[in-house]
């Protein structure tokens, strides 16, 4: 431990050039921030608009990603059929978790949902025949991979972009475009849904569940719908996550990522869909950016430092600006 005193020396070189690098902007920040925008939009619907403290989002993402992967790799189903099926499976799992738990107080719900997510992760870790365990799931023995269909599209898109005159395009550019188009479409749909009678009942459930029930609204059904939609969004985020990494593995679905989702949520502010995108961009610039800065510490320490920063940011944000950047202060108060 003594040799680590060196860590306290001031940073020697900060390579700010990296922050304007296209690979960094698209590959490191862009794609991941887009994926976590979709992921946290579900949380926004739950926490910001319905008052459900869903801590199982990483688990729903895992169910979506694994269901898609297993259907393609193990059963040979087409990627395009596997995706909607995987969404259905993730929603079904969301409803299964929600049915017994959505009646519980916010803190109990948080614990149940995180436990459900951990069940999924531990199962994924150990059911090796199905999921590949910690090695991850990517291809079958005869080289059918879950991302084959996407790779064809990606290659075509990259050739096309190259034809337009972008020599040596960033390989993640096609995924970047698809992820962000999805994120913006989801954002717009949720924004519009919030302005329908359905959306207004959700708000009513969040503000005063008893009042909503007194008006004859089945608040439980609305909460269940909210959780189901959120699980679907988590599944979609899971597909893109799977395409962004070489294999679907349990470490991508640790509770840590749900917590990062909450970081994204409160950075942008509760009850604000556009804020989620901003929050996600800030979060991943912060996490990715600290990777670019050249500190006189080991890579492992730098990795730890990233999450120390996230933790401190979360504490300070909750202490001094719980409403986030674009949220309203009163949204932080959940009735209990």
């Amino acid at each position: 431990m003594i040799e680590l005193v060196a860590a306290f020396q001031p940073p020697l070189a900060v390579d700010l050039g990296a922050l304007t690098d296209l690979n960094f902007l698209i590959g490191v920040v862009g794609v991941t921030a887009g994926i976590y925008t979709i992921f946290a939009l579900g949380l926004q619907l739950n926490v910001g608009y319905t008052g459900i403290v869903n801590f199982g989002q990483a688990g729903f993402m895992a169910v979506g990603a694994y269901a898609m992967g297993i259907l393609v790799v193990k059963t040979g189903l087409s990627f395009w059929v596997a995706m909607p099926l995987a969404i259905v499976i993730a929603v079904a799992f969301g409803l299964l978790v929600g049915l017994p738990s959505l009646r519980l107080r916010a803190d109990y719900l948080a614990i149940v949902t995180i436990a459900a997510a951990e069940i999924v992760r531990v199962l994924a870790q150990n059911a090796r025949d199905l999921t590949g365990g910690n090695q991850g799931l990517s291809c079958s023995p005869d080289f059918v991979c879950y991302d084959d269909a996407w790779r064809d599209i990606e290659d075509g898109a990259l050739d096309w972009v190259e034809g337009l005159g972008w020599a040596d395009p960033e390989p993640l550019f096609p995924l970047f475009v698809v992820v962000w188009v999805t994120a913006l479409v989801v954002m717009a749909l949720l924004y519009l849904a919030q302005r329908t009678p359905w959306g207004r009942v959700l708000r009513a459930v969040r503000e005063d569940e008893d009042a909503a029930r007194a008006l004859g609204k089945n608040s439980f059904a609305y909460k269940l719908q909210s959780l189901g939609i959120s699980a679907a969004l988590a599944a979609i985020a899971g597909f893109y996550l799977a395409l962004n990494v070489a294999s679907i593995s349990p470490k991508e679905f640790e509770p840590l990522f749900t917590f990062i989702g909450y970081g994204v949520l409160v950075l942008g502010g509760l009850a604000n869909y556009w804020g989620v995108a901003i929050g996600s961009l800030i979060m991943w610039t912060l996490i990715g950016g600290t990777r670019q800065i050249d500190l006189p510490i080991t890579d492992e320490q730098q990795a730890a430092l990233r999450f120390i920063i996230v933790g401190v940011a979360l504490i300070l944000l909750m202490a001094f600006r719980p409403q986030g950047m674009f949220g309203k202060r009163e949204e932080m108060v959940l009735g209990d």
């Binding site: 926490v47 614990i111 029930r213 089945n218 409160v266 120390i308 933790g311 504490i315």
Partner: protein
């Protein structure tokens, strides 16, 4: 707000319907006895299927795991009940204790007992320190549940990755001989597991007696019931809050050392135990320290029993399933009083 006062709404009563079944009614009327009846039945079935020896052996293993859960749970439940704080950083208190013991025991080469004592004291101080700089001021500002919850997650990150920053992700061992075993009545047990059980149970019983018999315990229960009312009644609440954190931090620090004794020392140590500890808390009823002790021990034993019929790699899932089942059937806990959840 009482559950009974809620308006009846069409299509709602999923849980109400469950309550109408006979076992659920029995459970509602006499939760403790029915819980022990269920466990007793479970034991009889297990003995019939796997023999007395295996059941006793796994049960004994479960006691060492359960001691860690129970020690972790007692602090978490007090903080949860008295300060209404769902402290997701509680697992990191265990980690902090384990690393403190590691530094004293391995880096400095002192006996593990000294390491454990230092861990208890430093973790207790850590608990009080965060109360002073974070939780106290936030309570004064009437921070909401979600706000405090997320803050505790931020704190968990800070502690866990702070530890990782200084000592890396390397998995370490405390200076204990894990190969030595002790035999008792035909059962064998690792010496370190045996020590964990003895130390764990001794401390747990002391804490239990302290809280049941002394005025401090009574005052803690008063605060858990209604902090403002307790203050009006002349209880020095800030002092009780201080003792609560000392007890929560100290017991968590010891739990971390015991956990490290039977497993290893790594940055995720505490977080790995946290959900099971939450399960123990809920099993015993939130705020009920005695319940948490029993809940932790029962959970540890049930989890180890489960390895008789399912792959041991899935045993932690059993803990989560128990947690979810308890929340569905009886969210106020087996030992908890009926109240709104």
């Amino acid at each position: 707000m009482e559950a009974q006062t809620l308006p009846e709404t069409k299509g709602l009563p999923v849980r109400e319907r469950v309550r109408e079944t006979v076992p659920a009614q029995l459970l509602a009327r006499n939760p403790e006895r029915s819980a022990f009846a269920v466990i007793g039945l479970f034991v009889v079935v297990l003995i019939a299927l796997y023999g007395l020896h295996d059941v006793a052996q796994t049960g004994l293993n479960g006691l060492s795991l359960g001691s860690v859960y129970a020690l972790g749970a007692v602090g978490l439940t007090l903080v949860y009940g008295i300060l209404k704080l769902v402290n997701f950083a509680h697992g990191e208190f265990l980690t902090f204790g384990a690393y403190t013991a590691f530094v004293v025991n391995v880096t400095l080469g002192l006996p593990l007992v000294i390491g454990a004592l230092v861990a208890i004291v430093t973790t207790a101080v850590l608990g009080v320190a965060f109360e002073r700089v974070m939780w106290g001021p936030m309570r004064a500002r009437k921070a909401g549940l979600l706000q405090l919850l997320l803050m505790s997650i931020g704190l968990a990150f800070l502690i866990r990755y702070g530890i990782q920053f200084f000592s890396g992700t390397e998995i370490r061992q405390l200076g204990v001989d894990r190969t030595e075993t002790v035999s008792l009545l035909g059962l064998t047990l690792g010496k370190s597991e045996a020590i964990v059980i003895v130390v764990g149970l001794a401390v747990l019983i002391s804490i239990g007696l302290l809280l049941k018999l002394t005025l401090l315990g009574k005052r803690m229960r008063a605060l858990a019931d209604n902090l403002d009312l307790a203050e009006t009644a002349g209880i020095d609440t800030s002092r009780i809050v201080l003792y609560t954190w000392l007890l929560a931090g100290g017991s968590a620090g010891l739990a971390g050392v015991l956990a490290a004794t039977v497993t290893d020392v790594r940055p995720e140590l505490g977080f790995g135990f946290l959900l099971a500890i939450f399960a123990a808390v809920i099993l015993g009823g939130i705020g009920d320290a005695f319940g948490a002790l029993v809940g932790g021990l029962v959970l540890g034993v049930v989890i180890e029993w489960s390895t008789l019929f399912i792959d041991f790699r899935y045993k932690i899932v059993v803990g989560f399933v128990v947690l979810i089942l308890v929340l569905i059937v009886r969210p106020q806990g087996i030992l908890g009083k009926a109240r709104t959840v």
